[in-house]
């Protein structure tokens, strides 16, 4: 498993020119420069730098494993340490392969950490779902009923949910429906679904994004006030 490659869901432009401080290419700090120099050196110096980098990545992978441990009660300590070691090794390969991509937008260690956290998180999600069936059909429409609503609100909710269910059935393509239901309704982790469907996170999210946009458009065209039902306010 390698870290994602670049695909953008939607072009996003800054509303106004962002502050110079935040966007100007920052000069590389001394520590980051030293990491790059030693990793591009040869012989023993490079070997030692790679060993230091591996130790750094292993620390990050163990950090991620420790954060997720409460959600993985069935995994033993040895299994978790195996996952951390494998994540660190995979992250090391990814960092070395993408060393030229590092532009100094952050410190080198922050840039490197994200590879280890990503590898550990993906492996833990997959392990948690190992052997489990991935539900691709709606199982939980009954959860979409809320308690304690006034009769008017209940009617409005029924209309929204009926329109939403119909839109999922009628407006989306079969692939969009399958991805939306698995990810957004049934809570399947995106990396688990990507593995089962033989695709990657970026492509699946693009499908999910397109499905969400279609549903929003469909509901808005029917005059349903989404803002009243969503956490966010535009």
């Amino acid at each position: 498993m390698s870290a994602p490659t670049a695909v953008t869901v939607e072009p996003v432009e800054p509303a106004s020119p962002p502050p110079t401080l935040a966007t100007a290419p920052p000069s590389l700090d001394a520590e980051s420069r030293e990491w790059l120099r030693s990793l591009r050196a040869s012989g023993r110096e490079r070997d030692e730098a790679i060993a230091r980098l591996h130790a750094l990545l292993l620390r990050a992978a163990r950090f991620e494993v420790a954060r997720r441990r409460p959600t993985l009660p069935h995994l033993r300590g040895g299994d978790l340490d195996d996952i951390a070691n494998l994540a660190a090794s995979d992250a090391l390969l990814a960092v070395l392969r993408r060393l030229d991509d590092f532009r100094g937008a952050s410190r080198f260690t922050t840039w490197a950490y994200k590879f280890a956290l990503y590898e550990a998180a993906v492996k833990l999600r997959k392990r948690a779902w190992q052997g489990r069936e991935v539900p691709l059909e709606p199982e939980t429409w009954s959860m979409f009923s809320s308690a304690g609503l006034e009769p008017d609100a209940e009617l409005e909710q029924s209309e929204l949910l009926a329109t939403l269910q119909a839109a999922i059935a009628d407006v989306l393509t079969p692939h969009q429906r399958r991805v939306l239901v698995a990810l957004a309704l049934n809570g399947v982790p995106i990396d688990v679904l990507a593995e089962r469907l033989n695709t990657n996170r970026g492509a699946l999210y693009k499908t999910l994004h397109d499905a969400r946009r279609k549903l929003r458009k469909h509901l808005e065209e029917r005059g349903l006030a989404l803002d009243d039902w969503l956490e966010e306010k535009r």
């Binding site: 695909v7 990503y118 809320s146």
Partner: protein, 78 residues
């Protein structure tokens, strides 16, 4: 039966963020810069538009953002 707040969250998962957002790959590419700007108290949202909206819509990227922020923040505090 679920409370109205939970229903809103469930609908939010189905319908996703309203505004423009970056994809998972661009999110990964810029996550380190975004986290350092956040921890430095800079305006990360102005520097990298659409990344926070993506975090709202993608649980996996959101978890990785939380982890990177926690790890780097802890090291800076030492």
């Amino acid at each position: 039966m679920m409370e109205r707040r939970d229903l809103k969250q469930a609908l939010g998962r189905l319908l996703g963020p309203a505004g423009p957002e970056v994809g998972c790959d661009e999110c990964f590419d810029k996550l380190d810069q975004f986290v350092e700007l956040e921890l430095a108290g800079e305006d990360a949202d102005a520097a990298i538009p659409g990344l926070r909206a993506h975090l709202a819509g993608c649980p996996a990227c959101r978890e990785e953002h939380e982890s990177l922020r926690a790890l780097v923040g802890r090291e800076q505090a030492l």
